[in-house]
Point group: C2
């Protein structure tokens, strides 16, 4: 251990200013990021250029991704890019009875290093991930189906921001209590009582991160870094269709840990054979004391019910809703909504699904618009946005899996089609399944239609739901959030009363609200350090990214007191 | 609402310095309390003197305790003091279908008032409780069986401290995010993206506090004030044998809320008829979103398993252990342990149960002592402490219920009695059941004995467990904490290696450790603002009093953003 303090003290020196800025920003919630969004920002100071990142990605294809993990009993893989490429990379398959004990071996030293050292190591991991953003961009693109630019930004800097945010929260939470305290209680004329107290944040055990297919890094990093920064080991179980981005992450984490003098087995990968379904097995292991999960409501509910030995943080399905009541910027509203519906083919957990529009129409700066006009104009706005195939593909990306495609193809059976989906061709990826979104008209008053709009239809399907009035829209919004949950709510209105009613529903039912977005910020995007992703207070998620509650129960504080 | 701001703004002015000092102290964890421990500190500045407190308590006996709650369908009661008095007070029995909706009516105004106003109202409630400390002392004494002085201190200032601590944590947690933020993201040569964001802490719903028999205020206040300060309404379900202290609390809370311009139904009492068992019904009501519980492991586990709609905070049973390996202050150790075993007849969740002593004896400043000598000397120390009946009664208090007495009487059947329990008479309370503690010798190596020492035997029963060695003691400590949980661990050792081994067990198994206490601080006492009560990381409790985790998930933050 002699060399370790030197190694991680250097990391503290290097990363303390970034940590301090992150801590400051989560208090002010102003804009900030240390991770550049522009692709051309990379290629210097040790980071991979676009060409280097592409080459690094290509070099991983068809290879065995060896992490040097104990208990590797086999090699598994089978990722097929939504763009049609077979990745051919294989990953270690773990004998859990060997790997899990090995992951605990280094926990004492990791715990004893303290919160600042752990934060610094986490920031070094993130810095090295950042330097390889172009490599990650390809890995995210070819597992999630995101278009390249989105994969680079959402899978790179935005994900890194969310990881850093979690580290900052974890550090702040652990340092709310001092390392030591002197406690002296007066006793009148007698000598005071005096104690010396030591406080140590101790980890829960091993955190399990269950990755998702669509945002392997963005949704994976908060839990990974929150658990690691609070002293836990972390086992990463990627979605079998999106292993590579998290395998790269695990490799970098293991390298940094080892260089800093810690046991690399504090972070490990649990890849699985096709159809193996190891998440259930892992989630119930007694060593697993924290679970972070993004995915279906069914499995999220199963985890919350059965993984009782663990703290379970879930992001599940929801029915995101936008109330369209009136607007002072009709064109901006249409453009903004069209973009929101199109981005990544609606495959974001934050994409609006139900647009609630009064059947008598809405007031706009271009005069009154009937329900039919609004829907038709929105369809035209989407068409205009996606008219050119190359531009469309760069926004839509590819459908992530056959289930999404099946839902898209079934959507016309649900109601009148206001905007039909069309195929988009990508000459460079002829096997990619790229589709424009469909908009279906439904009637909020028809019970048959309710079955459709009150279920999550994940993918490029949205419903223009005709409602009786603004009040009806607000009540349907309330019922939707309460019963089905929502990651996002949007509203367009020029009426203070309607805005206040929507706001009150969001406060009471606990949903994040974007009001009258008509420019370059979209309801489906949140910025780390400033916006909360989810609320943790409605059925769509039991936690928000990122707040004190997301980190506070990943560790406990043990006090040792003795007489001074 | 016009008058409300004035009312609570005055409260903010009055209590802000106390809140600031509490916030400062939870960071430094130095000694502090605004609530005096000495009985003579009361009687001026509007607080009840000893005589006034006694008179106020007497005036409550045999009366109907009307709280003016909606939906009161009956009056219930039946408290019998462990000192033999029938209280004869009756309390409102609630029609939940009336009371619970009424409790939600005032939540919007309470939420909109903000964290600082809520903290100020909570501090005013605590200040008024503090002023009536003498009245509460009698109420706690005659429900818990605590001796008067302990009832005054633990049931009064110490409980008030824990409530204030919870308010401070709740305030700090809610104000980590600003009320509003301006977010401006540069876009190169294009105009920046600019959003205005509002952040509002919103409550979960109604918090349910399930009180316990032994410490109705001390264990009840943290959950009550944590939930109330975070914007929730709070329904208090007292233990049917310890209603009065919490009924008084609820009455004061309702008065303060009303005076400050809020709905008094934000805090309500749910008393029950004998044998009614309403806790299960209440805990599963959809309106109940938070549960705070102190009591048996069986019901705590039931709550954690079944009250899935709520955040559940439990303090359950544990097997508190003291390792006695060696000491440099033999007499101090014996006196300290004797006091710990005797205080409130061992009816604290923090009282040591198992004393692990090497069978070959221990080294002390008075020379080596055999296992038998240590146990006999401890028995003599207890005898010396409790030799005088009046002094004994003032330390022991009364047995809280017949179950404790039954366990005490069964203890001699478990092994060789090193110290027999004796009856203590109290002339002023001839029906009080007052007993000195029993110490039973057990052998750590005998499976039959293990059944006894590996279960919680709540009450004045402790086991002197002979172990093979210090290593054996440490391993038994580890197994006990891991399998059974512990609110407290103690150790006596002059060996750095043994101290380190015990410390490591406590860090790994997550238990709070008191090392070599030989003076006037006891393992079973914790001080608010400085000591954590429980760790939340072993089976004895899933939460600690009080830390960020105890408050962070009682509310969520809702963000409303719009273009700037």
């Amino acid at each position: 251990m002699a060399a370790a303090p030197t190694a991680y003290e250097q990391l503290i020196d290097r990363h303390r200013p970034t940590l301090d800025q992150a801590l400051e920003t989560i208090r002010t919630r102003a804009y900030w990021s240390p991770h550049p969004e522009h692709p051309k920002a990379y290629g210097e100071n040790g980071s991979l250029s676009a060409a280097e990142g592409k080459a690094a990605f290509d070099a991983l294809l068809g290879t065995r991704f060896d992490l040097g993990q104990p208990g590797t009993d086999d090699w598994v893989g089978g990722e097929v890019s939504p763009y049609g490429i077979e990745l051919g990379t294989t990953y270690p398959h773990a004998d859990l009875d060997v790997l899990l004990p090995a992951m605990r071996a280094g926990q004492r030293a990791w715990r004893d290093a303290g919160a600042e050292a752990r934060a610094a190591v986490c920031l070094e991991i993130l810095a090295r991930i950042s330097a390889r953003t172009h490599e990650f961009a390809h890995a995210v693109m070819h597992t999630s189906g995101q278009a390249f630019m989105m994969a680079l930004q959402a899978g790179g800097p935005h994900a890194q921001d969310r990881g850093l945010e979690a580290v900052a929260y974890a550090y702040a939470e652990q340092t709310r209590t001092p390392d030591t305290a002197e406690w002296t209680k007066p006793q009148g004329k007698r000598p005071p009582l005096a104690l010396t107290k030591q406080f140590t944040p101790v980890p829960r055990g091993i955190g399990l991160v269950i990755g998702c297919n669509t945002f392997p890094t963005w949704n994976g990093y908060p839990g990974l870094f929150a658990s690691l920064a609070t002293g836990n080991a972390v086992l990463v179980k990627p979605h079998p269709r999106a292993v590579l981005p998290l395998a790269l992450t695990v490799r970098i984490a293991r390298e940094v840990l080892a260089e800093a003098g810690f046991d690399p087995n504090l972070v490990a990968l649990a890849a699985e054979a096709p159809g193996e379904g190891i998440a259930k097995t892992l989630a119930l292991r007694p060593e697993i004391r924290i679970v972070d999960y993004t995915g279906s409501t069914a499995f999220g509910d199963w985890l919350e019910t059965h993984a009782r030995q663990a703290q379970v943080y879930t992001e599940k399905a929801g029915v995101n809703t936008v109330v369209v009541e009136s607007t002072g910027a009709y064109k901006g509203m249409l453009a903004n909504l069209a973009f929101s519906l199109s981005l990544y083919s609606g495959q974001m957990c934050t994409t609006p699904q139900n647009l609630l529009i009064p059947r008598d129409g809405i007031a706009t700066d271009e005069g009154p618009k009937t329900y039919d006009e609004v829907v038709a104009d929105l369809a035209r706005a989407v068409d205009a946005l996606l008219g050119d195939d190359a531009r469309a593909a760069a926004l839509l990306g590819a459908l992530v899996n056959p289930d999404v495609r099946a839902r898209l193809e079934a959507a016309p059976g649900l109601g009148e089609v206001a905007l039909a989906s069309r195929e988009v061709t990508m000459p460079e990826f002829p096997d990619a399944v790229v589709r424009t979104p469909v908009i279906v008209k439904l009637d909020g008053a028809k019970p048959d239609d309710e079955a459709a709009y009150m279920s999550e239809c994940f993918g490029p399907v949205s419903f223009a739901v005709a409602v009786d009035s603004a009040e009806d829209a607000v009540e349907l919004l309330r019922r939707t959030v309460r019963d089905k949950g929502a990651m996002t709510v949007g509203a367009y209105t020029t009426s203070d009363d309607v805005a206040e009613a929507v706001r009150e529903v969001c406060l009471e039912e606990c949903a994040q609200l974007s009001l009258n977005l008509t420019g370059g910020v979209y309801v489906n995007q949140t910025a780390a350090f400033s916006d909360f992703h989810g609320s943790g207070g409605n059925p769509a998620a039991n936690a928000a990214l990122c707040d004190g509650a997301f980190v506070a129960d990943r560790f406990r504080v043990v006090e040792v007191r003795e007489e001074a």
